[in-house]
Symmetry: C2
Subunit: 340 residues, 2 copies
């Protein structure tokens, strides 16, 4: 604010807009249950009078809240997490809250720092996609009673509300679809086992193989690729095996992209477009239907994952049982067979 | 905080970690210029003692700041904007600030509400990718002197710091590459002209055609697609023309994906994989090298765009000339010819 500027009151804004002060508050809190035409009048008056709601002032009165929800994700550059954040924001806005977003880059230290910073800003709650490393900093007793919800990944020994995908079931179904097509040598591309999705999806893969009496072949299993280039080179190793896999189960989006890039590289260098492994990919990606090999996609709704995580958080913030036992939700996934 | 919990002081944390109070502050502010091992000690002590820095309390003393930068983007589900936000966050963190992120969904009303809300939270500055609609709510005199930087798109009549891509130059070069390959009937797929990138990229397309004495054929120009499905059906119309274009200039990522989806649909329904237009795409996308038609990509660094926007903002926040004339930066783009 410019020094000396006098703050108009909410009543003055309401009078100027011809609405109630409550309508002004609701509009500035996100507009829930306020007719668009009234919201427009309020915003016009807010601009006309230069009224600014002082969230921080409100947050400082004892017992008052910051109006912020801290959200920590591992990779904002991955559209999956962008859509996840949209889901959290959508639910937060319904409650008149905003999200403060931070990116951990899969780094446990950054995650600890980010969470400490969020707590310092008195966020009302935390939604965290854990990096998978040490997680003492996520323990409830370290958060000053700020509620936390973990999303997408769980953390061993951390007993807090968690929303996961049906990782095991999805990986099981996807792998089974390859076995049913007659494949017996099925490679596995995944992220580090310390990340629970990597471990859970591997379990689903193993489970499907076991049902057919197939024990995993260590040479076909590559499970520590955290980025596309590492995944491409893991795929290169698999394709170069004397007895290469005829199909690939890829445990996430980054590994699938890397595997496909290696196939593309070989096709462009004249390898011919046939004879490459079929791929089952956990996580969808755009243009999957355009690939030179059939790609079966195990899909989930990232935005819904964000919504569910936020709903769990607000249930904690509002419920009488704010200290009740922690909840675990598993969201379903869909398997879409490659259409060829 | 749990009621009655006593807050340890920053000095107690410093003593416990065996560092200076300044090192504690720096670590909690993002860790700039603090050795990782010292950061670890500080975070351990913070966790041990349950110390929480109270940003809001600090922000409330007169002249103190909220420590927040408001960032409004149009589509968080688009990885381009996710990476853009990462760039803003990266620079903000260097200054010990966090970003509050909001998504406008290309909706001008939501943008106005989001900005009003940010101002209400006393953000120290705003970085906005404008929706392209009415923008009175972005005028400096409406923001209570909170500095604002526009990114990716400019707003007519809004004289504020702006970071753009070289839209005209990139579109010109991309279209020229098609003309040089002998194409004369080049279709245009783009977003609404009210969005400055759509308009600027169209100008570059027209400029290249004009140099070859070609006047744009209205039937080849589709420029109001805001999502992939609208783009796919626009491409369908172009391909169904009696005299269909032999090449396509696509003004953004969403239009390129839609155009490729229509080509894929026709190939899968037996159209054969040849005879489709070559594509030049403004904005890159993953696996562009795997497409059934050659795709030339006009690429830009989304993260750098975010960094530059944030740097302009912090220059305003710190510079003596905080009220100096507004700056306009154009970032270069790179044209990568399809490798076939």
């Amino acid at each position: 604010m410019a020094p000396g500027t006098r703050q108009p009151t909410i009543k003055e804004v309401a009078a100027s807009a011809g609405v109630s002060p409550m309508t002004v508050s609701r509009t500035l809190a996100g507009g829930v249950n306020v007719r668009p035409d009234l919201q427009a009048k309020v915003l016009a008056a807010v601009k006309e009078l230069g009224y600014f709601r002082n969230e921080n002032a409100r947050s400082l009165r004892p017992g008052q809240a910051s109006g912020l929800i801290g959200v920590a994700i591992t990779n904002l550059g991955n559209p999956y997490y962008g859509n996840f954040a949209l889901g959290v924001e959508e639910v937060a806005a319904k409650h008149g809250k905003r999200i403060v977003l931070g990116n951990t880059g899969e780094d446990c230290g950054r995650e600890a720092q980010l969470v400490a910073d969020f707590i310092g800003r008195q966020v009302e709650g935390l939604v965290v996609v854990p990096s998978g490393g040490a997680a003492e900093h996520l323990r409830a007793d370290r958060l000053g009673d700020t509620p936390i919800v973990l999303a997408s990944r769980q953390v061993a020994g951390l007993d807090v509300d968690t929303v996961l995908l049906d990782d095991v079931g999805g990986a099981y179904q996807g792998t089974l679809s390859l076995l049913e097509s007659g494949h017996t040598r099925i490679g596995f591309l995944g992220n580090v086992p310390s990340v629970s999705t990597g471990q859970r999806r591997y379990i689903g893969y193993e489970k499907a193989l076991a049902e057919r009496g197939i024990s995993p072949d260590a040479r076909l299993i590559q499970r520590d690729q955290q980025d596309v280039e590492a995944a491409r080179s893991a795929m290169e190793r698999l394709l170069d095996l004397p007895d290469a896999p005829t199909a690939i189960f890829s445990a996430n989006n980054r590994n699938t992209i890397g595997a496909l890039k290696e196939i593309g590289r070989r096709i462009r260098s004249g390898a011919g477009a046939t004879g490459f492994p079929a791929i089952v990919s956990f996580d969808s990606f755009e243009l999957s239907e355009m690939m030179p090999v059939p790609v079966t996609v195990i899909d989930s709704d990232a935005r819904q994952l964000g919504r569910e995580a936020a709903e769990l958080l607000f249930a904690r913030l509002q419920a009488a049982d704010s200290h009740g036992p922690s909840r675990m939700i598993e969201l379903p996934v869909t398997v879409s067979m490659a259409d060829r």
